[in-house]
Symmetry: D2
Subunit: 341 residues, 4 copies
């Protein structure tokens, strides 16, 4: 921790700060600069009382942490890329995996049609919401357990792995029973009780970035998963909230190289929520792959105009099949592949 003192304070006031720093377990080192006195405080910021509370003192101008607050998710702790097993697939290797399917599971026909089509086109994971977090209580809330069973059936029929959202601690067991990957959505990205419960299932967790989550906060939310004994974590960038209204969210593709730099864990990109517009999805997929994404999460629906949720951002089956073909050269240029490796 670095503590910067205000100018024009007395030596006595300075001594009080030093005494408090020692009391809180740190060893202070004073540096007298041109305009400010700076105190370097030696001690472990992760396990000790944070000195940030010192900002409440009138003689303190700034308190700046020096250590990184996350550890298990950091590349510092684990220099090599982690590969995460999820049912039959392994995410984080040379192959870029595509997770595709409808926003919501609506009925058997819709799901099976989509599952077969995306598998045919090269996807390895089926997505589909059974429990849906909807902005309004009057919107379709998902089929619940019935939706999970349909997903399980689709897995059996197609061999695709299944990723689906977990909304509530009460659903942990039933979702873990039917899914290969548990998705924690943007609205629950700092619902730490849910993260802990999900972590304890041992299943891989796909952790979406919250709408207003800084990279550091996202890594720390991931730290909750690893600190609770589950090493199988996937980060998923899905757009942050900015002032721009042309797109539903602002997809922060720079998160791809940042997660690669800061962490050993795979990074997934969701261009469907990231833009909210089907016409932009293909370009975003290409960008994500070129920048190093390990997987894509794409919404696909047999008839988007009649989808029960988020129709504007879902691709038709045809458009998805074409996209998979268009992505091949981008993957190759990035030293990756979309096919079995």
């Amino acid at each position: 921790m670095i503590v910067v003192l205000r100018p024009n304070i007395t030596r006595k006031q300075e001594t009080e700060v030093l005494r408090e720093i020692r009391k809180l377990g740190y060893t202070p080192h004073v540096i007298r600069g041109v305009e400010r006195v700076v105190i370097g405080c030696i001690g472990d910021e992760r396990t000790q009382h944070s000195l940030e509370t010192l900002i409440s003192w009138p003689q303190v101008e700034q308190v700046m942490p020096v250590q990184k607050r996350y550890k298990l998710v950091s590349r510092e702790a684990h220099p090599r890329d982690s590969v995460i097993p999820a049912g039959p697939v392994r995410i984080g290797g040379k192959r870029v995996h595509v997770m595709a399917g409808p926003c919501s599971v609506e009925n058997e026909k819709q799901l099976m049609t989509t599952a077969h089509a995306v598998r045919q086109a090269g996807a390895t994971v089926l997505r589909g919401g059974a429990f849906k977090p909807r902005t309004s209580p009057y919107e379709f809330q998902g089929l619940g357990e019935e939706g999970l069973k349909l997903l399980a059936k689709a897995r059996e029929e197609t061999g695709l792995a299944v990723v689906t959202e977990l909304l509530s601690e009460r659903h942990v067991d039933v979702v873990a029973e039917h899914a290969d990957i548990l998705q924690i959505g943007a609205r629950n990205a700092q619902n730490f009780q849910l993260l802990i419960a999900a972590a304890k299932t041992g299943k891989p967790i796909l952790l979406k970035r919250g709408m207003s989550m800084k990279i550091e906060e996202w890594l720390l939310a991931g730290e909750y998963v690893l600190a609770n004994g589950n090493p199988n974590l996937l980060f998923c960038e899905r757009g942050i909230r900015s002032f721009e209204t042309y797109t539903r969210n602002t997809l922060d593709l720079c998160a791809v190289p940042i997660i690669k730099e800061e962490s050993h864990l795979p990074i997934v990109v969701d261009p469907s929520h990231g833009s909210g517009r089907a016409s932009l999805v293909a370009a975003l997929c290409k960008g994500a792959v070129a920048m190093g994404a390990d997987a894509l999460l794409i919404e696909v629906h047999p008839n988007p105009a009649e989808a029960w949720s988020d129709g504007g951002q879902q691709l038709t089956l045809d458009r998805f099949a074409r996209l998979m073909k268009e992505l091949e050269p981008a993957a190759e240029a990035a030293g990756r592949t979309l096919k079995e490796d």
Copy 2:
């Protein structure tokens, strides 16, 4: 719903859109403007399929909803101000209530000292976190049930009502047993399962605005509470996330008159999280009261520098007592009072 068509589409393409609109249950009215064709679609947007999915069609340029999506929380549905009973206090009347106390409950002495001091100064509700949502898994997570018991004890000793955060569906019963008001924090503001579970206790809910929640989304989150049978809701503005880093959050005080305009429910302001800096709290309290806030939620600690969480934004007992005095003329100027009415 208003559907705007792209220019230069054929009559046949237009007819397809009209057919789909009818299929989805709306009656279309075509208006041919100077550069665009606009279709007014008559039907209930809240109970029918949303036409927003039509944006997935190439001939559609824009889809704009016309109706408000919330109903029970709206002033349209309930023109007069609601007054919410919370233990011994009633929030939303002439009196501006002050909810004060430490960020976290740390131990009996800290809590009792604070409780007596804030009561003495004029607060009517005691705040204090027993379950704490912390950005890092290595930070203090709260005393849990022990903290709740200390809060209950403080209530008994001081007569203050108690507001405390509910973090998990698993804690609903125990928190509802000990608290007069259940706080849903910013990170859980769109954790709809938690909102529903909290609503079902019948206890008043203090719903903080999420860090990146639009006013409409906040009202809709509140709608989840009322739609689940609980009319006792308080909205709490606590700052949104912006690019500004001087303050921890950007307190959107304009939310006060907006909530008054759009809803019949009381609005509470939390200047402690709203700024993250003790030195700014007093000014923000004055602004909030002048603008019509029904209550304030203020963090107070006997020794902020040694607080186990958020020390930088907590007021000392003395500063809080002074603030209460400073607020009186502001309340009076606003036609309100801080004392019994």
Copy 3:
């Protein structure tokens, strides 16, 4: 400057950093912490090469400035409040000044009617745009010099001081000739050439905060004015851009106490642009005054629905007169007055 080294670098790499720090004119002090090596660098950050460029080295993890970058605008340099003379008025004293008038000067009748009405209601400064920065080239761009002459005429007739926007270095002389205060708008808040040219007229400058300007950047833009020999500066908060779309901008009222803390210069609040909605203006004025604003800048128009720009946020003459009465108790509660002091 504080330089934090990456972990696991060699002593040789550390020595290279120390050598570069010395080469750039600073004296390094090394502190070996638990997980990181931190280097305190002594030297004047304002006059010397910024060490922030060191971040380009692979062995450097963070570079953190310690000094404040602004000086002349800071309260550190000038502890007492500055009072700024602007024509017949002095801003920054006990009296809260109200600057009112139409968004754009449209014609003589509109301006004179408004000028007399706002003067009658208690305003001391007349606002009105002659050169208008409009988002689209097809929108009304202002009457230009003709508008300035109408403003000058209104000043003569009413005794009000005049504030109007300066858009271009080419207009500096003509605007300075007719106005008492030169307004630099949000879009030009970091148009430093314009700031310098405006500063050199010696006229008071009203510097609006840019839409995405951090407090520090705003203070530094103000520093351009003072560093160019003009001490007569007013900061004006007019709302920042956030994700919220209910209001046109998010009025950051916390800027009021922050500017008071960091600077000796007056702070003006513009609730009209800050909200974009006439119905919210009164509440924001009350909040601003309660929090310590030195002046308000309010848009008023005889017939907002037919205004040539920004009609949605302009008050009618009647509403403005009522507002002035409503503000009196708020001003008094804040130890201020709206009348002659």
Copy 4:
């Protein structure tokens, strides 16, 4: 324009609105929906009084524009891609151009070394700031005209085209004399007087997106250039301001396909300002090219740690040469080339 009326207004109030709509030159069409009355107003929104001012009336709830506000920059007006000639290069065709060079021109040696190196590596345009917009008045403000002359000399020696920033209307002639492309920086993106003056030179304009500019506002700023008779415009995405602080800005790569969809003009991407970190530049370049960018603008310096500005985001000459090689497969995968076409 669509005008939505508030519920529960009288027929008389409705009639007043209709009368005003007619008075303002539009023909109203009333649609009575389930909960709201909606009025479609026929008339040209670009040339007539905007009805948005009607929001100031108590009986009006919403006013929604239907037409696009930009015309000349729109793909609607000009369906085929425009190719912009800039000195010896043509931007917008199959070749992806790379504009590279130092943030600031510092001296002849620095500039010539960089110019030769970037040309050698495959760049076609030399960038370099002679007039610098700096946040603080105490920072290096650029070499001014001397810098322009050095750029012209570098052009002569290397055959590279030159792009440099224009900061002031006073510099229009001198910058236009020495540069092939006039850059309008993010801080001046809505300095419309500067845009008009730059447009009138007839030189190609590179218009950076302002830090908080919505896509629509950016297109409208570009409309100022075309409406002033200059068809040679390049849009340049350089990152928007969000809450994220890991990067200097948030590069909105989605702007690439959006500009392609909405406009016929080329899109350039600046990953240096977009991230502020040299280590992220290569990944962002690959993403930009994969998504369809027509050119890249990259900062390169012989010794970033000693750069006079923005050292943290500048690439070394070696790193740049390697990057150019890495980009080739990405360009090819996108159906483009980095070499002569």
